[in-house]
């Protein structure tokens, strides 16, 4: 699904990531951890072609990112749900419309079912906020809305960057439970987080690999996780 082979990313003459080799198989669940600034977000960006590797190879859904056209990138991104740390929305349309936007841009607007949208809003605890504009949401609410938007297309792969960073423990558990449920449905999940308790709790629910970035390199985390 996602394959990195000796991939690296260099910015301003400094190696952010180097010699990364990773394979995300369909249906797998991965955590990506490491200290702040270690390159977790950069690695996620490489996985949906927001960044191009400066060395090595990255393949997304069997396609080499260097050979992709802009339309190819768009098509690939429809199969990937991305939740950013700083989630961006279209600020002039409602949360509900933002959620259904991925369906609109991919020509599947007829599949929009307001009942399902309401269920999704309920799942992420935003039942009462569907008609609000994104600037009216708190940080945590924005992250939950971003997760809802990421999964509305039923993507094959979900990339989440600190998805529980701005929510309380109870909501964090609920969001992780949602991701675990999606993984059981066959979706591939990659979550970047520095919250080790969250990783430990989740590992009791699902078989997850934990990867750590240290000194620009990727390694399997120890048995303590």
């Amino acid at each position: 699904m996602i394959e990195l082979k000796n991939a690296g990313f260099n910015y301003g003459g400094r190696d952010i990531l180097s010699d990364m080799t990773l394979r995300l198989s369909p249906g797998s669940f991965h955590f990506l951890t490491g200290p702040s600034g270690s390159g977790k977000t950069t690695l996620l960006n490489l996985c949906y072609q927001a960044l191009m590797p400066t060395t090595g190879m990255v393949r997304i859904f069997e396609q080499d990112v260097r050979a992709m056209t802009r339309d190819d990138v768009a098509r690939v991104r429809r199969r990937i749900g991305v939740v950013h740390q700083n989630c961006q929305f279209l600020d002039h349309i409602s949360v509900r419309d933002n959620l259904t936007l991925p369906l609109s841009v991919s020509g599947r607007e007829s599949e929009v079912d307001q009942g399902n949208v309401d269920d999704l809003l309920g799942w992420v605890g935003l039942s009462e906020r569907g008609d609000a504009l994104p600037p009216e949401l708190s940080g945590g609410e924005r992250q939950r809305a971003a997760l809802a938007r990421a999964i509305i297309m039923s993507p094959d792969l979900i990339l989440a960057d600190e998805p529980t960073g701005n929510v309380d423990w109870e909501m964090a558990q609920r969001l992780i439970a949602l991701l675990v449920e999606l993984n059981r449905m066959g979706k591939t999940i990659l979550i970047a987080t520095h919250d080790l308790n969250l990783i430990r709790n989740t590992k009791s629910e699902v078989s997850a690999r934990v990867l750590r970035i240290s000194n620009t390199k990727l390694q399997l985390a120890g048995a303590d996780l």
Binding site: L51, R70, A74, R77, L90, L101, V105
Partner: protein
């Protein structure tokens, strides 16, 4: 086919694509105003161009078929030389008719310069003979030779000397009008390109979100293209309407006013301004589309 479809979609209304671009009041008004002003100028340039075209054709047609013979002779010989000239003309192939202009007609011709009370009989005014040609017209060189032999005071003026510069001037004025229309269209395209680029730059976050969720460039471009095309269409329609009202109130063609009173549209020419908003919309469509794709290709 893809391009035709995208043109059609601009008007058929992909409102979802349109919805993703936030409303921007100032840019919107500026684009509509620019399109309106340009359409207004285009209609006037068109009216000027068509009027000069008509004038050139009229001068060409009217003056090409006539010539004038001027007889300047001592008073005692004037009648004899006039008769001699008429006789020559009667026997010249290519002449349909010839007649001596009356004193009243000559007075009318001189009236703009000397006033209405010109005592023509006391002035040494040459006698004028109006000649109407037929077919390919007479052999002018031969006619001039015969006239100089039969009536030494007769001078043949076939109007070529001043008809050509007039017709040339009118033709060039028409060409200038058409060039002005092209320049106006080009300027409008440039202004709409700048407005579209500004709108694209101001909506970087919107474009980023759309790319993140898998929008193709054509989807994003369509949203901007639709908005700018409709703004240009509406602005140009208003500008054209106002200009047509202005042209309709221009003075009707009159003998006294000559060129300046015939600047409006005549007959089916009134249909032509209707195409101005359509052309403005097409210019806006391509200007925005090119600007959008160029801007998007620079983004990741």
């Amino acid at each position: 086919m893809e391009r035709l479809r995208s043109i059609f979609e601009v008007f058929s209304g992909d409102t979802n694509a349109d919805r993703v671009v936030p409303p921007s009041g100032f840019t919107s008004r500026l684009t509509s105003f620019t399109a309106g002003a340009m359409a207004f100028l285009t209609v006037f340039a068109l009216a000027l161009s068509l009027a000069t075209g008509r004038l050139a054709d009229r001068w060409d047609a009217e003056l090409a078929r006539t010539s004038t013979i001027r007889i300047a002779a001592p008073e005692g010989q004037l009648a004899a030389q006039s008769e001699a000239v008429l006789e020559v003309l009667r026997t010249t192939p290519g002449i349909a008719s010839a007649r001596v202009m009356s004193d009243a007609e000559q007075r009318k011709l001189l009236e703009p310069w000397f006033g209405p009370d010109l005592p023509l009989d006391t002035l040494p005014v040459p006698r004028l003979i109006e000649v109407l040609e037929e077919g390919k017209g007479p052999d002018m060189v031969g006619l001039k030779l015969r006239l100089s032999a039969e009536a030494p005071g007769a001078v043949l003026d076939d109007h070529t000397r001043w008809r050509k510069p007039l017709v040339n001037a009118a033709t060039r004025l028409r060409l200038l009008g058409l060039v002005s229309i092209l320049l106006i269209a080009g300027s409008m395209g440039a202004m709409i390109t700048l407005a579209a680029q500004s709108a694209l730059a101001a909506n970087g976050q919107v474009i980023g979100v759309l790319r993140l969720i898998g929008a193709r460039d054509v989807y994003i471009a369509r949203a901007f293209v639709r908005r700018f095309t409709l703004r240009a269409l509406i602005g140009a329609a208003i500008g054209t309407g106002l200009a047509m009202i202005g042209v309709a109130f221009m003075p009707a063609p009159a003998e006294e006013g000559a060129f300046l009173t015939g600047l409006g549209f005549v007959g089916w020419h009134w249909v032509l301004p209707v195409f101005v908003p359509v052309i403005a919309a097409i210019v806006a469509f391509w200007a925005t589309r090119l600007a959008a794709f160029r801007a998007l290709s620079r983004l990741s």
